[in-house]
């Protein structure tokens, strides 16, 4: 079915190209196909030009096969091989059975971009709007003079405004090299409306032109283009800041409850994150077995919460509750637990990182501006962090459990007097904090590596966020995560990742010395 559709589309295109070039259809130029398959770099590029110029309808199929790695050779013959079916590249006839000794035709980057440009220029005449749009996008910034006539004709025939403007820009960038002064000037002015980074070097070169009028026009256009690109850069920087902020927030939220509200210095917090990430890994594998890989995150999120919360409650019941009010002992005990958990996971899953794959919808990104791509996995994590934050906020402010947690943390004796089961509230609150750490682990598994040491990288960051934000404050945690996220990213952009890390740490040390209570202090008699 798919084949027949493809053939029909091919035939349609063939008819179109025929009308366009006015040539009779016959087999491809065998010599050119041979050069494409067996020649060296320059010969192959030349062969593509020759094949496209000849205007055969099946050229598109041949080039597509080359781009997809379906082109093979057997002796002198060039074949297109799809699965078990083979076709002669020159005549298009089916070959059965396939020769046993076949070699792949290897494409390198240079050939691949030449094939891409050739294919795009062929697709410019396709009847479907989407195909033409894609082709016009692919051609912008990557054309040589040879495709110019084709581009101009396509521009004349094009009715769609969006495709027209794309093509006009591409034509203008070609016109820049024209010998006619008026054409050049028009092109330079047209390019001033472009928002593509690829025109910048062209305009910069034109700005050095000895002709003062061309030079100044080019400078004006260059400023306009750079202004537009600047927005993309600023947007990108803001986005990376928010993205890092959301990751820090997720990692620190659980700690904001266990350390911030309950006052437990939990050095095993990072390992609870790690447990969440490994839960995501296990769920992913189970769903892959079931053939539901794309949906595994739906189950991984609650599973990560549940598993980490369970481990957290176990910890609280078995160890931490005996150590309330003894911060040093808690610190040592939880640090020991963190080592036990790391080694436990290492024994269970091995010391190597495990592979957690993104579902297909989380790969790639959206092009918000011409020079700004926002990756889906980062967007998903920002949204997820916001949701988790909202859920915790509601839980603490609006539910009975939240009321108890606040009550117990503010005045344990009084809460106990009015009948709040403080021990149980402690366990539940610790479980909640641990569960949120698990959620963070599930989110982090979509970005980086999942290994037994995963938590070690986040424990320092998490404490930094909570202490910087002000202990006992959810809002402080949010602001601190965002401030550190932005700060880190701005520094990274200006002075590199290594310096950025050092500067942020020094800043925190100095800040805490001057304001030990953090950004937001709890106001009250105790403080």
């Amino acid at each position: 079915m798919i084949r027949s559709v493809r053939q029909r589309a091919g035939a349609l295109l063939g008819a179109l190209a025929l009308a366009f070039f006015g040539l009779p259809a016959h087999a491809l130029d065998a010599a050119a196909v041979g050069r494409l398959a067996f020649g060296d770099g320059d010969e192959r590029i030349e062969a593509i030009g020759a094949l496209v110029a000849a205007g055969e309808p099946r050229v598109r199929e041949l080039l597509q096969a080359l781009a997809d790695g379906e082109l093979q050779t057997a002796g002198e013959r060039v074949l297109i091989v799809r699965g078990e079916a083979g076709f002669d590249a020159v005549s298009g006839e089916r070959i059965a059975p396939l020769p046993a000794e076949r070699d792949e035709v290897v494409a390198n980057n240079r050939l691949r971009s030449a094939v891409g440009a050739a294919l795009a220029s062929l697709k410019l005449l396709a009847p479907e709007r989407a195909t033409r749009l894609e082709a016009a996008r692919a051609l912008s910034g990557a054309v040589d003079a040879a495709t110019a006539p084709l581009l101009r004709r396509a521009l004349e025939r094009e009715a769609d405004a969006e495709i027209r403007s794309l093509l006009a820009m591409t034509v203008a960038s070609l016109d820049l090299a024209s010998s006619d002064r008026a054409t050049r000037l028009a092109a330079i002015r047209a390019l001033g409306d472009s928002s593509s980074a690829s025109v910048k070097p062209l305009l910069a070169a034109a700005a050095k032109d000895p002709d003062p009028e061309i030079g100044s026009a080019a400078k004006l256009s260059l400023v306009a283009v750079e202004g537009r690109l600047k927005w993309g850069e600023i947007g990108g920087l803001l986005f990376t800041g928010v993205s890092l902020g959301s990751i820090l927030l997720l990692a620190a939220l659980g700690l904001a409850i266990t350390y911030g509200l309950m006052g437990v210095i939990n050095m095993a917090h990072g390992e609870l994150i790690m447990i969440g990430a490994y839960t995501a890994y296990v769920v992913q594998n189970a769903f892959r077995q079931l053939g539901l890989f794309e949906w595994y995150l739906l189950a991984a999120v609650p599973a990560a919460f549940a598993v980490a919360a369970l481990v957290g409650m176990l910890l609280e019941r078995a160890v931490i509750r005996w150590l309330y009010g003894r911060p040093l002992e808690t610190l040592l005990a939880t640090w020991g637990i963190s080592l036990v958990l790391i080694q436990g996971v290492r024994t269970l899953f091995g010391a190597q990182n495990v592979l957690v794959e993104n579902p297909a919808w989380m790969s790639g990104g959206i092009a918000a501006l011409s020079n700004l791509v926002l990756p889906w996995n980062r967007i998903a994590i920002i949204v997820f962090a916001a949701l988790v934050l909202a859920a915790i906020g509601l839980l603490l402010a609006r539910t009975r459990l939240g009321l108890y947690v606040r009550g117990v943390t503010q005045n344990r004796e009084m809460a106990s007097c009015v009948g709040v089961p403080t021990a149980r509230v402690d366990t539940l609150a610790f479980g909640l904090g641990a569960g949120i750490a698990g959620l963070a682990g599930c989110a982090l598994s979509q970005l980086g590596n999942v290994g037994p040491d995963l938590g070690q990288g986040y424990i320092v960051d998490s404490f930094m966020v909570v202490v910087f934000g002000g202990v006992g404050q959810l809002a402080g945690t949010v602001y601190a995560a965002l401030v550190l996220g932005f700060g880190n990213k701005f520094l990274e952009a200006s002075s590199g990742a290594v310096i950025a890390k050092i500067v942020v740490l020094v800043f925190i040390i100095v800040f805490i010395q001057h304001r030990p209570q953090g950004l937001f202090a709890l106001k009250g008699r105790a403080a």
Binding site: V106, T240, Q352, N353, G364, G451, D453, A497, V498
Partner: protein, 429 residues
């Protein structure tokens, strides 16, 4: 009194005799030689190093099955320095002075090698180092079976400058912040300058070990590339940071046809955890690829896949992969065996002398020769482009093996250095 001493003596001599007898019979049956394996099996470098331990064990098993080295069975001593550089030195000391190993195969990062180097020199051990590195070092106690800069970095950059490589004019030198990337980039900077590349056309960037957020870096590369002329990225990122780097590269849509990335520490194994479809066309330079078509290679990959299945090695039992440092480890072990048999001794000095000029039919299809003097291998250089299935297409290779230059001519002051450990040792004195 006298009788008592007599009895004592009798008992003692009997005991001595029995021990002697026992040990000699034991000796005849299974003479063994201990060999150290010093690779991180946990921490950030485990992604790359674990498999080297496994391939070393495979080679030992193979040699033992054929009768061992000079009739002695190899008894491997495997330790885990856990990607912790000072621990490397401790473990090396333990291997040499406690376990008395005849040779050690190990290390990946240059910082780990630098950390064990004084130990090997002090205790006169023998280290086989299987990974490409920055050069600038030569030791009578180390044999380098990986590439020196002129066997990997320089040819890769030359390829990208060529017409087929895309005629790159602007360069981003991106690496993890430690000695190998810093020195390699110093060499490359000098090399690029010698080729007429302006200072403004080079951007150098470093990230800490285990860095996982490459958004800003990729944005910087994009911006740098948009400022005119064809740009290429040379990546010396090491360890598991490569996974988030390539993920971000794919997600941000930076294609190889626009800005090609050539990596020196990324091979088949590192790409296992990455969706390679958006990465098609990005490059790596090595002295071996799994996809090389050679009889020696098909034999090597087959052996590895059988071994991985038999030993149930995680990952490899389902999808066996081989890579350059694995090949270099394998070559190193066999050359050591040949040298021991030539020297008829396990003594470090004698084995070292016998290493000179050893040859081995390497899986890469060429015959690798150990240089007569400089302790480095002569190797062929291959440049491969990533394919959608995570393997590499070889798009360029040198005509034959290239002699290593551990003292790069692109670093000032190296003209006076000789690539001969004996002479260098004398100079130091």
């Amino acid at each position: 009194m006298k009788r008592r001493t007599f009895i004592k003596q009798l008992a003692l001599s009997a005991a001595v005799a029995s021990i002697g007898l026992g040990s000699t019979s034991l000796y005849a049956q299974q003479k063994t030689v201990k060999v150290g394996v010093l690779h991180s099996l946990s921490g950030t470098m485990a992604i790359s190093e674990t498999v080297l331990k496994d391939v070393a064990l495979m080679a030992f098993e193979e040699i033992n099955a054929k009768g061992g080295v000079m009739g002695a069975k190899i008894e491997p001593v495997v330790v885990d320095p856990a990607s912790n550089w000072p621990l490397f030195a401790e473990k090396a000391r333990q291997l040499i002075s406690q376990d008395k190993v005849a040779a050690t195969f190990g290390c990946w990062t240059s910082v780990s090698r630098k950390s064990v180097l004084p130990v090997f020199e002090e205790l006169n051990g023998l280290l086989f180092y299987p990974v490409q590195y920055e050069g600038e070092e030569i030791s009578k106690n180390v044999f380098y079976t990986g590439a020196a800069p002129n066997q990997q970095a320089i040819p890769a950059v030359e390829y990208l400058m060529s017409k087929d490589g895309g005629s790159a004019k602007r360069w981003v030198l991106l690496g993890t912040d430690y000695v190998y990337p810093r020195t390699t980039n110093k060499i490359l900077r000098a090399f690029l300058k010698s080729k007429g590349v302006a200072e403004a056309d080079i951007l150098e960037e470093y990230t800490p070990f285990g860095h996982s957020d490459y958004q800003t870096i990729i944005a910087k590369i994009k911006k740098f590339a948009s400022e005119g002329k064809k740009t290429a990225v040379v990546s010396t990122i090491n360890g598991d940071s490569n996974v988030p780097f390539y993920k971000e590269l794919g997600n941000q849509g930076l294609k190889a046809t626009d800005v090609p990335v050539v990596a020196f520490s990324v091979g088949e194994e590192e790409l296992r955890g990455v969706d390679t479809k958006p990465l098609v066309g990005h490059l790596a330079a090595w002295n071996y690829f799994m996809s090389i078509k050679a009889p020696a290679n098909s034999e090597f990959t087959k052996k590895w896949s059988t071994y991985a299945k038999a030993k149930n090695i995680a990952g490899h039992k389902d999808k066996a992969l081989t890579n350059d440092p694995m090949e270099a480890t394998y070559i190193g072990i066999y050359m050591w065996k040949q040298a021991v048999e030539k020297a008829k001794s396990f003594e470090v000095a004698k084995v070292s002398a016998a290493m000179a000029g050893q040859t081995f039919k390497a899986p890469s299809g060429i015959t690798s020769t150990m240089d007569a003097k400089n302790h480095h291998l002569h190797k062929a250089v291959f440049i491969g482009e990533i394919k959608a299935d995570g393997q590499f297409n070889v798009v360029w290779k040198t005509k034959g093996p290239v002699k290593a230059q551990p003292w790069s001519p692109f670093i000032a002051g190296n003209e006076k250095k000789v690539d001969e450990p004996a002479l260098m040792a004398e100079k130091k004195k």
